[in-house]
């Protein structure tokens, strides 16, 4: 019976993946690109050299961090779509911190920066958490709106108060902050590439999130509130408080991702740092099954996808928006498949089909699908 169940689940996942790839291929064909060549470039291109491989990991770092935050919020029953805005707030706060203490030694400045980034993101996420818990504002809508607001605030600061004074002197006026002091730079762990120590931080935090959510009472309460709010409330869990906590944590992780990105890769706040990590993070979290052990490989997978998509843009002229199409289809495929995987009735129909065609012997207990 378990064999059938496994086969069924595998079938659902494969069908979803195939459907996603097929829709992507249709769009690629519409713009005159060869789907097979494009998919080949996306999935093999990044592995061609050392630079490609490390670049995949560079992309995976913010994706892991954002994905962890999203997983905390989704598990706690609040759908955080606002990671994009929270990343921007994290970038602003950490940049401001590093520029405020240019003379501080690295051991002090880096933690300060990361703390500021996490607080900036937590503040932005906390707004949505508070609005949901206290005023019943739909968090999806409020976080989307907060994304737009953060984006405007970000450009305002980079064009005005935080702009690099050199940009004003030369008159080019590129919206970017001053370069951070060297003490605010994360070390590169592979020479001559952009891979930085943020990877270690991300992996450590992935383990921390696992321990917090699955190995403590506090984490159990968060997950209980998310799984069934009414039952959790009846059992004495303060659901409203756990919603706010979850959003603070989710925002904190996104803000930290922004801080790490500034400190490890760009060394200053510029426009387009986030480049959609906030939305990709949602896909990563869902793809990773909202569990740290799944999120880390999922982040690497989407790192490959992002780097590969960049390569196809350069080599085959496939527009960068194509990555949005793929991510959107993947989300739709995942949420559809998720419902089917645990659908006892569909499993039964599947099993019955096998019984009729006689390719497998199924005990009668499959009739209930193995579900209570």
């Amino acid at each position: 019976m378990n064999k059938i169940k496994l086969l069924y689940r595998l079938g659902v996942i494969l069908t979803a993946a195939l459907a996603a790839a097929l829709v992507g291929a249709m769009v690629l064909t519409a713009i005159g690109a060869s789907p097979i060549a494009t998919y080949t470039t996306i999935f093999t291109g990044p592995f061609a050299d050392k630079y490609g491989i490390t670049e995949v990991l560079v992309r995976a770092i913010p994706l892991i961090l954002v994905g962890l935050g999203i997983a905390i919020s989704f598990r706690s029953g609040i759908l955080n779509i606002g990671a994009e805005g929270q990343i921007l707030m994290g970038i602003l706060a950490s940049t401001a911190m590093a520029l405020a203490f240019p003379g501080a030694p690295k051991v002090i400045l880096l933690p300060l920066m990361f703390m500021a980034g996490a607080l900036g993101g937590a503040f932005w996420g906390g707004i949505a958490g508070f609005l949901r818990a206290k005023l019943g504002v739909n968090e999806i809508l409020s976080t989307v709106m907060l994304n737009y607001i953060a984006a405007q605030f970000y450009t305002y600061l980079l064009r005005g108060p935080m702009i690099d004074s050199n940009e004003l002197l030369t008159g080019s006026g590129t919206p970017q902050s001053m370069r951070l002091p060297k003490a605010a730079w994360l070390d590169r762990i592979v020479p001559e590439t952009r891979l930085h120590a943020g990877l270690i931080l991300a992996l450590v935090l992935a383990f921390c999130v696992y321990s917090l959510l699955w190995r403590t009472t506090w984490g159990y309460r968060l997950r209980a509130a998310g799984a069934e709010a009414k039952a959790a409330r009846y059992a004495g869990v303060h659901v409203e408080r756990s919603l706010i906590t979850a959003m603070l944590l989710a925002g904190g992780f996104a803000g930290l991702a922004g801080a790490v990105e500034v400190s490890g890769v760009h060394h200053r706040a510029i426009e387009g740092i986030s480049s959609g990590y906030g939305f990709s993070g949602i896909v990563v979290a869902l793809f990773g099954g909202l569990h740290p052990a799944g999120i880390v490989p999922a982040a690497v997978f989407f790192g490959v996808l992002l780097v590969g998509a960049d390569m196809t843009q350069r080599s085959a002229g496939v527009p960068a928006n194509m990555i949005l199409v793929l991510q959107g289809v993947v989300i739709l495929a995942i949420v559809s498949a998720k419902m089917y995987i645990n659908n006892a009735y569909a499993l039964e129909r599947f099993a019955r089909f096998f019984r009729r065609s006689g390719t497998a012997k199924i005990p009668r207990s499959v009739k209930t699908g193995g579900q209570p």
Binding site: Y148, I149, P319, L332
Partner: protein, 316 residues
């Protein structure tokens, strides 16, 4: 400029500005009344804006050239209905989580519109768009004539959609079915209403209207296409449905309020009052959050089963 002239300008600009929000929100209202929370509205609007623009961009001569705008609206609505169908497949048949699926649809629609436009159009190009058509006689009324009756014809069609959707929802058997499946699907099912079919129909209608709203943006309002043309209007439209308490008349009020706030901000800018541009752009988004915070009590009047998939096989 005297204050009378300024008010006239704000009102006569605000009315056509409200159309995209209005039509998208009226469409979303059908979705939500049927119990489906469609956040993909934004993506459908992007797609509608692109497909609406496409015929006007490509067909410059020939027998079809006179009807490019009509063709654009037809394409946009067809694509919207198709995306609505896709969303119905995912959320009604597969019973997926609607909030996340909506974000997926938004990324999907936005991504396709952007990808195709980069490939087929390239940079930002303008089109002639739909010209204004003053209603003879009515447009001559002082003040009101210019505010209400001197726009492109699509504006009038959009405003006629308000009583039409009200009638459809509250005075036809189909509207009753839509409200029933959004409020108590099990009872509706028992009475022989095919819950899934009604939800499919509502989603396709809502999708077509979102596509229409998108085409309005590219053909009547901006008269060009850029991949960020919708700029959150789809999400604002979803919020407007809450604000309008799931009633077309309330939605009309909300759409007008929003567009007037926006044109007010524009005229403040033109008036020369120093105010960072970015903060002015933020205004409607802040307004949405404030509005949502004050309309929480309204939930009681809305479709109670909003956002919950219906599973007729499940025991209760």
């Amino acid at each position: 400029m005297n204050s009378g002239g300024m008010i006239y300008n704000i009102l006569s600009l605000g009315v056509p500005f409200s159309v995209a929000l209005l039509v998208a929100a009226l469409g979303e209202n059908f979705n939500q009344r049927a119990g489906i929370f469609n956040l993909g509205c934004e993506g459908i609007m992007s797609m509608g804006a692109f497909l609406g623009f496409l015929p006007a961009f490509f067909i410059k001569t020939g027998p079809l050239a006179a009807h490019v705008n009509l063709l654009g609206f037809v394409f946009a609505m067809a694509a919207g209905a198709l995306l609505g169908l896709l969303f119905a497949l995912v959320t009604v048949t597969f019973r997926a989580s609607q909030g996340i699926a909506g974000i997926g649809l938004q990324m999907f629609g936005w991504g396709i519109a952007g990808t195709l436009s980069r490939h087929f159009v390239g940079g930002v190009t303008g089109v002639e768009g739909v010209p204004a058509w003053a209603i003879p006689g009515l447009a001559k009324i002082p003040f009101l004539g210019g505010v209400l009756f001197n726009h492109n014809p699509v504006v009038y069609i959009a405003f006629l959609m308000v009583p039409t959707s009200w009638y459809l929802l509250f005075r036809t058997p189909w509207g009753l079915k839509v409200r029933a499946v959004g409020t108590y699907p099990r009872a509706a099912d028992t009475m022989g209403i095919n819950v899934n079919r009604v939800r499919y129909q509502a989603l396709m209608l809502g999708g077509a209207m979102a596509g229409f709203a998108g085409a309005y943006l590219s053909l009547c309002q901006a008269k060009m296409f850029a991949d960020d043309i919708v700029a959150g209007r789809g999400f604002i439209a979803v919020a407007l449905v809450y604000f309008g308490r799931w009633n077309p008349v309330g939605i009309l009020g909300g759409a007008l309020l929003f567009s007037l706030a926006q044109t007010l901000q524009l005229s403040i800018q033109v008036g020369g009052i120093k105010f960072p541009y970015e903060f002015a752009v933020m205004l409607p988004y802040v307004l949405v959050i404030v509005v949502l915070a004050f309309t929480r009590k309204a939930r009681m009047r809305g479709p109670t089963e909003l956002g919950k998939p219906y599973n007729r096989e499940m025991r209760v």
